[in-house]
């Protein structure tokens, strides 16, 4: 097991190298970071004199061949320097990411809790009452929840709870009250898919022979469901949950925007808009690493849930 985990961790390195190279090259093909200096849509005029653009490009080291720029960049990473931001002049890209991470992690954690609280009991309920009204209710929820755009839901929640009832703050961060609406919005949209997976998994397992045997043995329904069926039904649920985490930590751009929640998502979208290469690269590397680690985590959790799965 330890050897397996170590091997998997080693595989992360070539993956990340590939990703940095890809992002680095694509970014440089797709546009010009001098745009960051121009101030975006708010710029007084959408251009600078030609010789000034050349001077800025030289200052940023963009006049050198891409491969030279890449090698310098990778060399700096090994020294712990992920480059400096253009938009946040002078600030290190890694520092910016770390600064935002707690906000995003808080929102992601709260959204996951909401999602699990809805999907786990919801899915079980639907499976046990298959084709009866609780099942229909849960199915209706999971279809609507999946189809409903989260930006729409977010705005509606604000209008209802903040503008009409004045129970909760409209936007911002800092207190528990600020967390409720964004967590609810984000959690509900993830929960829809999770509920369906939970229901599907359990329905399938409940029709298997060993469950029938357990029932025939005269075990209490609670024992059959929770002790025998659930463990096998929950595998795909856990997979999806594991895969959702890196996405959540990468920041939910739409939710963060609607609720003015200063997390990684807002940082990333800003950086994209301003061609802030160092920041874009740092966020992408971080998110990719999370995906790889998330997958690994899921694999390890499998062995805990299902003893038949072993890694060598």
């Amino acid at each position: 097991m330890t050897v397996y985990v170590f091997k998997r961790l080693l595989q992360v390195i070539p993956t990340l190298v590939g990703i940095t190279l890809l992002v680095f090259v694509v970014l440089r093909l797709a546009g010009d970071p001098v745009a960051a200096y121009l101030g975006g849509e708010d710029a007084e005029v959408a251009a600078l004199p030609v010789e000034q653009v050349a001077a800025i490009r030289q200052k940023l080291g963009l006049d050198k061949p891409v491969i030279v720029q890449y090698l310098v960049y990778v060399g700096n990473i090994f020294r712990g320097d992920f480059g400096r931001s253009l938009i946040y002049q002078g600030r290190g890209a890694f520092g910016l990411l770390i600064e935002r991470l707690p906000n995003t992690a808080t929102l992601a954690g709260a959204a996951l809790v909401v999602a699990i609280l809805i999907s786990f009991p919801g899915g079980i309920l639907a499976a046990l009452f298959k084709n009866r009204w609780p099942d229909t209710l849960v199915n209706v929820y999971s279809v609507i929840g999946d189809a409903m755009p989260s930006f729409w839901l977010g705005v509606m929640l604000i209008l209802f709870f903040s503008v009409e009832l004045r129970w909760l703050p409209v936007s911002g961060s800092g207190t528990f009250k600020h967390l409720i609406l964004p967590a609810l919005t984000l959690g509900t949209s993830i929960a829809a898919l999770l509920t369906r997976l939970m229901r599907g998994g359990l329905v399938e397992v409940m029709s298997l022979d060993y469950v029938r045997t357990a029932k025939a043995k005269g075990l209490a329904p609670r024992t059959v469901v929770f002790k025998h069926a659930l463990r096998n039904a929950v595998l795909s649920y856990v997979t999806l949950l594991g895969l959702a985490i890196p996405g959540l930590l990468g920041g939910s751009v739409i939710i963060e925007r609607i609720f003015a929640w200063p997390g990684v998502g807002l940082l990333f979208i800003n950086a994209l808009g301003g061609r802030d290469m160092a920041v874009i690269q740092t966020v992408v590397i971080f998110t990719s690493a999370l995906v790889v680690l998330g997958n690994l985590l899921v694999d390890i959790v499998y062995t805990l849930i299902d003893p038949r799965i072993q890694y060598r």
Partner: protein, 515 residues
């Protein structure tokens, strides 16, 4: 004696009670008025505080509360003293400024001529600073004494004062920048303004506190907070529920939410941001033909664009003119050309017709989707065959801004924070004007007039030269100016504040509304 003692005891008790009640009351009342705060919702926060490296008008509108210019403009566009108390043009190449005495930087160090010299020589010499272009002709700043300086320029500059009261002209503290270096100083700003930098939470909020020692008097609010709220509906929800006091720019879709609202109102402000079409006039483009450019102008109904896109708030224009911009020939303001028949005739004259349709491409960032649909439909009405290509903003900005890579027509907008028309006209000169990269348009007569105007100190002569240059620009149309757009500012009824045409959010002028 006993009754007396009892009285004394009663009196003492009474006194204590009164004192306690008074204290509690003072505390309660005090807490209601003591820590006053004004909160502003903005679409963008400064990422750094290097005013000379900022091109965004939103950002300059915010940092005016921390840093100050040498001269300011009042709402009528007249120059008023700020860090400089008086000024004169000694000769065409020299300006003399007397600086305000008794001004202190936020760290207590006195403001002197050395700061002015440092500030303007930095931006004049460093070509990598985005505001360099407006100050590169400053050869040196000569210190006469602590409160008097001479600016020596390489070319005569009648717009000099305007350039000293615009985005980029904020005076910087020499001691701070030299001790810290630009990168650190730009993250820990020290200014002379009415508010002191306290904290920047990137992409979240900028917190400022009142400057007790401000030369213009302490501002009314103890704390000023700028919150970044990019979602238009969220910003308005905050304003209507008292979460913010000011929304710098209310999106058009949200305006109806102010109908009958008791908490806030929306105020339209027309500045000098002009929406335009930029033509690629290089060979091989259909828009190389002046008649085609004229046909586009005649085919598009500016008034209708304003009505649909701006709820009618704004004015159609034929040049980058506005009432608050010095030197604007206002015959081109609130005026436009629209005649589909003329457009059709121009197309026929240029050799296009049913057998040879005039195919034209419109490009821009996807923020111009509505504009593109409308303009495209009107052009088709006049006989053009239109193709619309819109891009994600950063892709478009990279494509268009620095390389001028586009086909036929591009959507855009421009403003000028100096509010001097001569500065707007420079943008179309060849080859140094910023729009030359895109238009490829050169006209020697125009360049000569603009250059002459911008070295002419006699206001009347200058205005006449600018008018002549505009005539050429309007006739040849490297750009077609559509309309001056209004910004809608949301203001809480709990606050007195007049939004400015130059979009500077000067919070020192804001105060709680009298009830």
């Amino acid at each position: 004696m006993r009754p007396a003692r009892s009285n004394w005891f009663k009196e003492e008790c009474m006194k204590k009670l009164i004192t306690t009640v008074a204290l509690v009351a003072a505390l309660l009342l005090g807490s209601a008025t003591a820590a006053s705060q004004v909160t502003v919702a903005v679409g963008q926060l400064p990422g750094h505080f290097d005013p000379q490296n900022n091109n965004a008008s939103t950002v300059s509108g915010i940092i005016i509360n921390i840093f100050e210019y040498m001269v300011m403009k009042d709402e009528q566009g007249q120059f008023i003293p700020a860090l400089a108390t008086s000024w004169e043009s000694v000769d065409p190449l020299t300006w003399r400024f007397t600086l305000r005495e008794g001004v202190k930087w936020h760290d207590g160090v006195p403001f002197t001529a050395a700061d002015v010299k440092f500030t303007f020589e930095r931006v004049a010499k460093d070509a990598t600073l985005v505001r360099h272009a407006y100050y590169k002709h400053i050869e040196s700043v000569e210190i006469i004494n602590d409160h008097e300086v001479l600016f020596h320029t390489s070319t005569p500059d009648p717009i000099f004062l305007s350039n000293l009261s615009r985005n980029g002209a904020s005076v910087l503290p020499r001691h701070h920048w030299e001790a810290m270096g630009a990168d650190v100083a730009a993250q820990k700003p020290i200014g002379t303004g009415p508010y002191v930098f306290s904290e920047l939470r990137t992409d979240d909020r900028l917190i400022l506190t009142a400057n007790d020692d401000y030369w213009g008097g302490r501002p009314a609010y103890d704390t000023a907070v700028f919150r970044r709220i990019t979602e238009g509906s969220t910003a308005v929800s905050e304003l209507l529920t008292g979460g913010v006091d000011l929304v710098a720019s209310v999106s058009r879709a949200e305006i109806t939410r102010f109908d009958g609202a008791a908490a806030a109102k929306v105020v339209p402000v027309i500045g000098n941001r002009i929406n335009h079409l930029t033509f690629n006039t290089r060979e091989g483009q259909i828009t190389a033909d002046q008649r085609i450019r004229a046909a586009v102008d005649y085919a598009v109904d500016d008034e209708l664009l304003l009505e649909v896109l701006q709820d009618g708030a704004g004015a159609p224009v034929q040049a980058r003119v506005s009432p608050g911009t010095f030197g604007s020939p206002l015959e081109y303001y609130d005026s436009y050309l629209y005649d589909v028949e003329v457009a059709k005739n121009l197309l026929a004259e240029a050799g296009y017709g049913p057998s040879k349709p005039a195919a034209i491409t419109l490009m821009g960032s996807n923020g111009y989707a509505d504009t593109a649909d409308l303009v495209g439909a009107m052009l088709e009405e006049a006989g053009f065959v239109v193709e619309i290509k819109l891009f994600e903003p950063s892709v478009w900005s990279a494509k268009y801004s620095s390389t001028g890579d586009f086909t036929n027509v591009a959507f855009g907008a421009a403003s000028d924070s100096s509010f001097d028309y001569g500065n707007s006209l420079i943008d179309n000169t060849c080859p140094n004007g910023v729009y030359y990269v895109q238009t490829g348009w050169c006209n020697e007569g125009y360049d000569a007039l603009v250059n002459q105007a911008n070295t002419e100190f006699d206001s009347e002569k200058r205005v006449a030269l600018l008018r002549d240059a505009t005539e050429i620009l309007v006739a040849e149309r490297p750009q077609y100016y559509m309309y001056a757009s209004a910004t809608f500012v949301g203001v809480s009824n709990a606050m007195e504040f007049r939004p400015r045409a130059d979009s500077l959010i000067i919070l020192a002028t804001a105060r709680p509304a009298a009830h």
